[in-house]
């Protein structure tokens, strides 16, 4: 069998499996609550691995490999911090409180939690608009990453790759809702993991082991094996912060904690998400190895695809390709469902005050998923350049808006309505202005956005009236 026939066969089986999972999920989705949150019935394995799948997109695999290629072994730190901060600590610090508080408040969305916790209706509208706008930008970058993967790895034209994978995702998200997203995410995490492990083993074998890779890298440039190395502290630390700490403010990630069956699910989930998340380090390592084996590539983003083509067997590269596509599809699906929820439940239902019947809400959620998906697809067909910059840009804006109100909302009773609103507006506008100014001092907009949001939340909260004690007691579960 020819290589391209093997690729097409593996990909077809994989896409078919996704559709089957989507159809099964559709049968379990009867109410709007099922559609948005799977009826709060999800267990530890599915929650943990779908979290990991939503975390890593094709952009991370291809772009992370590009970073490894350009900056060498220091980028392994990013993978390490992804695991510690983006997986383990996120689960420990956020998981249980989010699950308990959202249940006590009767809310199922990130904008909804912020609105109820702070009694701030404006927070619901502001955050749902930010989500709808910037997650679509993020969607575009995910689709672009997938389209590039199709093109470079399989020779399938970019437009065909984007349309094919995009259409399948829109179909299963629109039909099966949240359950389809997490079940397919669980399945996809395995494919991503197997693909990355296969590539890493083959790459290490080709280069002659880790030591040989380090020695060869040091011969190219000593900075490729040191920390911070050729990248420098500012770039390395701010990038690691965006893609690790930023997760704490990303709605499509924290919503996993809303939907777990019970708080006890989070115990096993924390361990599983940590182990699953540790695959984050592999693309960087693979990129660094590619630098040794193929030093003259036209762009660093070709590092991982070129490596995969060269060191894997046709079957191995087919699985790796499916893994790259799976990473993109799972993230796109996670973003799609959260955008649909934000628009229908928070903006139309909460913000504009339109009361929809359960059936109408379910229908509208499906329609909005399709529309948001198609808009993202349309933009992705002729997208702007620099995938990773775009991703980091949209992440930074959403995280700057949501992160502190979320965290302080869980841990600081003194945080007030206007403190939270000031933090959102301050974080959002500072990040946007900073990016528009062209990121002065080489610092990414996420860092000043985060700093402004923190200062605004603390100062304005201390200057404004505390929320009523009985409201806080209800949320913290301390009422008599």
């Amino acid at each position: 069998m020819s290589t391209s026939a093997i690729h097409i066969l593996v990909l077809a089986v994989y896409m078919l499996a996704l559709l089957v999972v989507g159809i099964v999920a559709t049968r379990r989705t009867r109410t709007a609550d099922d559609y948005h949150l799977g009826g709060r019935s999800v267990g530890s394995w599915v929650t943990a691995l779908s979290y990991v799948a939503a975390y890593f997109s094709s952009v991370v695999i291809i772009g992370g490999g590009g970073f490894g290629y350009r900056y060498g072994m220091a980028t392994l730190w990013i993978g390490g911090i992804n695991v510690l901060v983006g997986c383990t600590l996120a689960w420990i610090v956020l998981g249980r409180r989010i699950r308990r508080f959202t249940e006590r408040l009767g809310t199922m969305t990130v904008p909804g939690f912020l609105a109820e916790r702070f009694r701030a209706p404006e927070a619901r509208v502001l955050v749902s608009i930010v989500i709808a706008l910037f997650l679509v930008i993020y969607n575009v970058s995910i689709l672009k990453g997938m389209g590039n993967a199709f093109e470079v790895l399989m020779g399938i034209p970019y437009v065909a790759g984007v349309l094919l994978s995009g259409a399948i995702i829109i179909l299963y998200v629109a039909l099966g809702g949240y359950l389809a997203v997490v079940w397919t995410g669980f399945f996809q995490a395995w494919i991503i993991g197997v693909g990355l492990v296969l590539l890493t083993v083959a790459a290490l074998k080709a280069v002659g082991g880790l030591t040989a890779a380090n020695v060869a890298l040091a011969q190219i440039d000593r900075g490729l094996v040191g920390t911070p190395g050729v990248w420098g502290w500012a770039g390395l630390v701010s990038y690691a912060m965006i893609v690790s700490f930023g997760v704490w403010g990303m709605p499509q990630m924290v919503v996993r904690f809303y939907s777990v069956k019970s708080v006890s699910v989070l115990r096993a989930g924390t361990v599983l998400a940590t182990i699953g998340g540790s695959m984050a380090v592999l693309p960087y390592l693979d990129g660094a190895i590619a630098r040794v084996l193929y030093p003259g590539l036209p762009t660093p983003d070709h590092a991982v695809p070129v490596l995969a083509k060269a060191v894997l067997s046709p079957w191995g590269s087919a699985v790796f390709l499916a893994g790259v596509i799976a990473a993109g599809m799972s993230t796109f699906a996670a973003v799609l469902i959260i955008t649909s929820t934000a628009v229908v439940r928070d903006f139309v239902g909460g913000g504009l005050g339109r009361k929809l019947s359960n059936r109408a809400e379910l229908r509208w959620s499906r329609i909005v998923s399709v529309v948001v998906g198609l808009v993202s697809l349309g933009v992705a067909l002729k997208p702007p350049d620099l995938v990773l910059v775009l991703t980091a840009f949209s992440w930074a804006v959403i995280a700057s808006t949501c992160l502190w109100p979320m965290l302080f909302g869980l841990y600081w009773k003194r945080a007030t309505r206007w403190g939270a609103v000031a933090s959102m507006v301050g974080g959002l506008s500072t990040a946007l202005v900073w990016i528009a100014l062209g990121s002065p001092f080489g610092l990414h907009g996420f860092i000043p956005g985060l700093a402004a949001g923190l200062v605004a939340l603390v100062i304005v909260s201390l200057l404004t009236k505390r929320l009523p004690e009985d409201h806080l007691d209800r949320i913290w579960g301390t009422q008599r």
Binding site: G80, L84, I92, A218, V225, V271, T274
Partner: protein
Amino acid sequence: MGPWSTPWETFVAWIVIGGSVVLALVWAVAVRAEHGGGEVKR
């Protein structure tokens, strides 16, 4: 040239990951003890 000639930084990511797994396990056990083995209700 043995494995220890590898610069120490390249091992740190693996140590951070190993540490994270240990942290997650310790936390899971600690929380279990705190709740006497099982917390219920949705």
